[in-house]
């Protein structure tokens, strides 16, 4: 009986201690040292400010950004910038809901500009030199962002080719002006000559699909700015990709496996694929993962009745209107768009600059790899070839309606679940419904 009471007493004490215990420490600890005030002694010390910066990285972006943020914090010791590095899926799926609910961070690196319409902070009112900001970035991008941020990197879609396989096959890599049909035949020959597993592939996204479709003559965005998918050009490229599937020359898992967004860069890096249509953001990963295993090059986008065009895109660093520190957010962004800081980011991440002054001066990319230098040169040249609709797709306010539905619908066609007509009909309906819903 005594033991039972003792046990019961101890249980009660444990429960009480657990219940009355100190609350858990916040996730972010307070700085161990008090911020050093560098202003004149007559000026009152500023209250410490913490900015939360939600950030995703395809490669080394976060590593390159951290020292730049350190410089900023050294310059403004009362501001602490906490870089929360998250997977891209978090940016894509969770961040819009957080921002909508007013629970978002102060800043973030985003790609889907349309999802944050009306939620971004118009920085111009808080900047010391808004004219510099407006003058140095493409106006369509700043408009799409509502002047709430800046494009930190310009990306463009384009194909990677395994040069070693071409050399082994004794076939010359074709250059500018080669059509998609010709590339299909040539890569097929390389595959057959070398025993490579696959000839040609394209990332599983509507974004990557759009460039070749436009090259084949698709007018995805018509004169009134509306999305139209059922065009001869879109049909033609869909049939070309279907031909890859039917002839067994493409890694079908890229379009048919579980991942919502899937890239052909995996089989390409593994040396199994002759040509992969992806984009400029893959350079870092290829350098890191391929190493000396084989030689690779970026080739100009294949051409067709609609010309030769990739699709421009990229990420942006934005400040949210819900921030409690708009002044400091603007200060940070103004710091990040200074030519030397922007150039440092572009050089370290091997990203194409969207900053006019930086682009004009040229970026000294931090690489001695001639493949990378050559690839960046080809991509830079592709920027000059962008058609008007290719440049405006990514910043179109309803681009999400096309992006959200296109990959799944095209996958249904490629898997044989839908005919081409049904795929186009369904995709058009999906886009129209999504836009109508967003306009309510």
């Amino acid at each position: 009986m005594k033991s039972a009471r003792l046990f019961a007493f101890l249980m009660v004490v444990v429960l009480l201690l657990t219940a009355c215990g100190a609350p858990a420490a916040p996730a972010t600890e307070a700085p161990t040292e008090a911020p050093v005030v560098t202003e004149a002694p007559t000026e009152a010390p500023k209250e410490p400010v913490e900015l939360r910066f939600t950030y995703y990285a395809d490669g080394v972006e976060a590593d390159v950004m951290k020292p730049i943020l350190d410089k900023f914090m050294a310059e403004y010791p009362y501001i602490t910038v906490v870089l929360d590095v998250v997977p891209y899926k978090t940016i894509d799926e969770q961040l819009p809901a957080q921002v909508e609910a007013g629970e978002g961070p102060d800043l973030a690196r985003i790609t889907n500009f349309g999802a944050y319409r009306g939620k971004l902070l118009d920085l111009r009112g808080y900047m010391a030199d808004p004219a510099y900001y407006e003058a140095n970035f493409p106006a369509p991008i700043l408009n799409a962002l509502g002047f709430g941020g800046y494009p930190d990197a310009l990306t463009i879609t384009g194909p990677y080719v395994n040069k070693t396989l071409f050399d082994q096959a004794g076939i010359e890599i074709p250059g500018e002006g080669t059509t998609w049909e010709q590339w299909t035949e040539i890569t097929k020959k390389v595959k057959e000559a070398t025993g490579a597993e696959y000839a040609i592939s394209i990332d599983r996204t509507g974004h990557r699909f759009a460039g070749p479709a436009m090259s084949m003559g698709a007018t995805l965005i018509n004169a009134e700015g509306k999305f139209t998918v059922d065009t001869p050009g879109f049909r033609a490229f869909a049939q070309i990709v279907k031909g890859w599937f039917d002839n067994g020359i493409t890694p079908v898992q890229v379009w048919l496996s579980a991942e919502p967004v899937n890239s052909c860069i995996g089989p390409f890096k593994a040396g199994q694929l002759v040509m992969c249509m992806s984009g400029s953001w893959q350079i870092n990963g290829i350098v890191k993962d391929v190493g000396d295993t084989f030689d690779w090059v970026v080739v100009p986008n294949p051409t067709g009745p609609g010309g030769s065009t990739g699709i421009s895109g990229g990420s942006a660093v934005v400040g949210f209107a819900s921030t409690k520190h708009p002044q400091e957010v603007a200060m940070l962004i103004e710091f990040l768009i200074k030519a030397e800081n922007y150039a440092e980011f572009s050089a370290g991440t091997l990203a194409l600059p969207a900053h006019k002054e930086v682009a004009a001066k040229g970026v000294q990319y931090k690489t001695d790899n001639p493949d990378v230098v050559a690839a960046l040169g080809v991509y830079t040249n592709e920027v000059t070839k962008l058609t008007e609709q290719a440049a405006s797709l990514n910043v179109h306010p309803y681009a999400f309606a096309y992006y959200r539905n296109s990959a799944n619908r095209i996958a249904q066609y490629l898997s044989g679940e839908l005919s081409l007509d049904d795929m186009l009909l369904n995709l058009q309906q999906d886009i129209d419904k999504a836009i109508a819903e967003a306009q309510k």
Binding site: E93, L256, S257, A258, E417, L418, D422, A434, E437
Partner: protein, 336 residues
């Protein structure tokens, strides 16, 4: 320290702890006596269920009610007050078809593809699950060697998270997975386990049976063990063969348990999500897109969410589940 000292120390500690314990009990008694005086004896049960009721209300009842609001409103806004009233438009959009047997003729073709996929999944998964669980239970009910070990082995996958189960099987069956690695190293062609529609559907059913059959086997085993042994002895004396004993004694007496197993597995099958989502992502195409994933895709996974359609689809699904639960309750009543 001598034994006597130890005893004295223990008695002192015991007296101290007893006094504190009694004090705490008295304090609790004081609080609850006060509440009882305030609410009366009939009010006390509500006080005791209040914590659970709060959790249920906040995390289940409130979202359920909110779901109705979303189902009858439109737009992409997260906040109910910013969503325009659209009446039954979301339901009409979901349920309008020219030909219900052809999803392509439906306004929301993906919903109907998900419905048909869920129906075939339920049919094959439940049938397979019941059959395999019954066979396993019958074998484990016999006096075989290492019976306890085998019972544990069959139950073990139930203890695993469905996500873990899916990942394990994905590593085995994906294009660059272990099984294809073995096949190619032996000189065979790769198999499209997850990129051929029929194969992906087959494997989703098989894996879910593998993951959950232990639970149903256990229920059936309990049912089998509740059948009196003397019935089999009497049948044997009367000359009944094993098949006759199975069809005339085992099956009739196991029927109530079987009904429970069928209904429980049916309810679980309709709710299929986690295993298929991780394993195939709903593909290839929409070959393994089920109803819950349709709801998830529309309500959660896209940056621009269609909460109204997702909420309407979830209410349609809730209606199906309520019917199935009603059947289960009837079955239980029959069993009792």
């Amino acid at each position: 320290m001598s034994l006597a000292n130890l005893k004295t120390l223990r008695d002192t500690a015991d007296r101290f702890f007893t006094a504190v314990y009694d004090g705490l009990v008295a304090a609790v008694d004081f609080i609850f006596s006060f509440i009882q005086r305030l609410l009366g004896i009939k009010g006390m049960p509500y006080v005791f269920v209040l914590p659970n009721l709060l959790i249920f209300g906040i995390f289940i009842l409130f979202p359920m009610l909110l779901n109705f609001v979303y189902a009858f409103t439109g737009g992409t806004s997260f906040f109910p007050e910013q969503r325009p009233w659209v009446g039954t438009q979301n339901f009409e959009q979901l349920l309008t078809c020219k030909n219900y047997l052809d999803p392509n003729t439906c306004v929301e073709d993906l919903f109907w593809r998900a419905v048909y996929n869920t129906i075939w999944y339920v049919v094959f998964q439940v049938a397979g699950m019941v059959l395999i669980s019954l066979l396993t239970a019958l074998i484990l009910n016999r006096k075989i060697k290492a019976r306890g070990f085998f019972r544990s082995v069959f139950f073990y996958p139930v203890l695993l998270s469905p996500i873990v189960v899916s990942l394990i099987w994905k590593w085995i069956l994906q294009d660059t997975g272990a099984l294809n690695g073995i096949l190619t190293s032996l000189g065979y062609q790769k198999m499209p386990f997850l990129i051929n529609a029929q194969q992906a559907q087959f494997w989703v059913v098989m894996i879910s049976i593998w993951a959950f059959m232990g639970f149903y086997t256990l229920i059936l085993l309990a049912g089998l063990q509740s059948i009196p042994a003397d019935l089999y002895e009497a049948a044997a004396i009367d000359g009944a063969n094993p098949w006759q004993a199975f069809t005339r004694i085992t099956m009739p007496l196991l029927t109530p348990t079987m009904v429970v197993v069928v209904v429980l597995s049916l309810i679980r099958a309709v709710q299929v999500f986690d295993i298929a989502f991780v394993f195939t992502g709903g593909g290839p195409g929409t070959a393994t897109l089920f109803l819950v994933q349709f709801i998830y895709n529309y309500g959660f996974s896209s940056p621009n969410k269609l909460f109204g359609l997702a909420a309407a689809a979830s209410l349609v699904m809730a209606a199906v589940l309520i019917i199935l639960t009603g059947i289960q309750l009837l079955a239980r009543r029959e069993e009792n």
